[in-house]
């Protein structure tokens, strides 16, 4: 028997403004893995995120912190980005626009349904855009509210989400 459980699969096959991965977090798990394959966006852009509470509300309070490091294959250096008290996580990853350019994500979420702890993420993204250029994208983030949350809203900084397959897994501790 495996200790990793598929909780949700969502497929985006037409243009949408955002994807709500709701009702995925519970007290059954304290660690979750979200895999996104072949994320397509209408423009070359960042992937943003917000938490969704158990009433289905996407929280836009200024309680989001993040720190990101990315490096394109066309450069010999890496770039840092960071933010505190934002109204959303602004840098989960990045991908180009067009059929040949996409983003692949592995995002880990810790403690989302625990109202005694803040919620943290770690994101590892491989983003492809024109040239082609591949981007290594690493990011950590925190939602600094002792609020149990039930899910995530994911959306692009600009334009629409045009495709992608989202899998959410719970990592069992019992």
């Amino acid at each position: 028997m495996s200790n990793i459980r598929l909780l949700k699969k969502t497929i985006v096959s037409s243009s949408v403004n955002s994807v709500n991965l709701d009702n995925i977090f519970s007290e059954d798990f304290d660690k979750y893995i979200i895999n996104i394959n072949n994320l397509h966006t209408s423009s070359a852009t960042y992937l943003h995120g917000r938490v969704i509470d158990f009433s289905g509300r996407s929280a836009n309070t200024a309680e989001y912190n993040y720190a990101t490091l990315y490096s394109p294959s066309t450069s010999t250096s890496a770039t840092e980005e960071r933010g505190v008290n934002k109204t959303e996580w602004e840098s989960l990853g990045y991908q180009g626009a067009g059929a040949d350019y996409n983003g692949m994500y592995n995002i880990t979420i810790s403690n989302p349904a625990d109202s005694t702890k803040y919620t943290f993420y770690q994101s590892h993204c491989v983003g492809v855009r024109s040239t082609p250029t591949v981007y290594l994208w690493k990011s950590v983030g925190m939602y600094s509210d002792f609020e149990a949350i039930g899910g995530l809203e994911l959306f692009p900084r600009a334009g629409t989400l045009d495709g992608g397959v989202f899998h959410v897994y719970g990592v069992g501790r019992n």
Partner: protein
């Protein structure tokens, strides 16, 4: 992530302890360690060692390389060689919300002819209330078989946290 995770060992800390040990690595498969909600009794960080027959190896054969992500300033480089433990975690404290969450992929612990190594993925809140996360790698520079991992706090006790070891199949 491969097809299955098989839980090998777990420790749920709810009262203060000086050390947590996860054991049961006895094959050449990749292993996966998840640790969530770690709290410590004072302003301190988690330290990690390999375990032999369930006991921490305290010899000076631990090296690391990585980047400390921070939400308030330029990221720090984290490198060192020949330590007596892996100093690979930089979050935690005893203030409000100060906890550590991390996971490792674990390689070659069962192989007596290779160095044991891990990849490190951390995010948490440090003692200065700064979002921090070590992203890096660490190696134990001895050809020996190890069967687990030991965790201590650099000062005081570990007071909370879920520590779980999985085999990846």
């Amino acid at each position: 992530m491969a097809g299955r995770l098989i839980q090998i060992d777990k420790e749920e800390v709810t009262t203060p302890v000086g050390e947590v040990v996860l054991t049961g690595i006895n094959t050449d498969d990749v292993y996966f360690v998840t640790v969530t909600g770690v709290e410590v009794s004072t302003d301190a960080n988690i330290r990690t060692r390999v375990a032999i027959s369930g006991s921490a190896d305290t010899t000076s054969n631990y090296s690391r390389a990585g980047k400390q992500f921070k939400d308030n300033t330029t990221f720090g480089n984290s490198t060192s060689t020949n330590d007596n433990q892996w100093n690979i975690h930089f979050t935690g404290g005893n203030g409000t919300g100060e906890i550590n969450n991390f996971h490792y992929y674990v390689y070659n612990f069962n192989n007596a002819n290779k160095h044991s190594s891990i990849t490190v993925h951390e995010s948490g809140l440090n003692k200065l209330q700064v979002l921090t996360g070590m992203q890096g790698a660490a190696i134990h520079t001895v050809n020996q078989a190890n069967d687990g991992l030991s965790f201590i706090s650099s000062a005081g006790n570990i007071t909370a946290g879920n520590f779980v070891l999985y085999k990846v199949l």
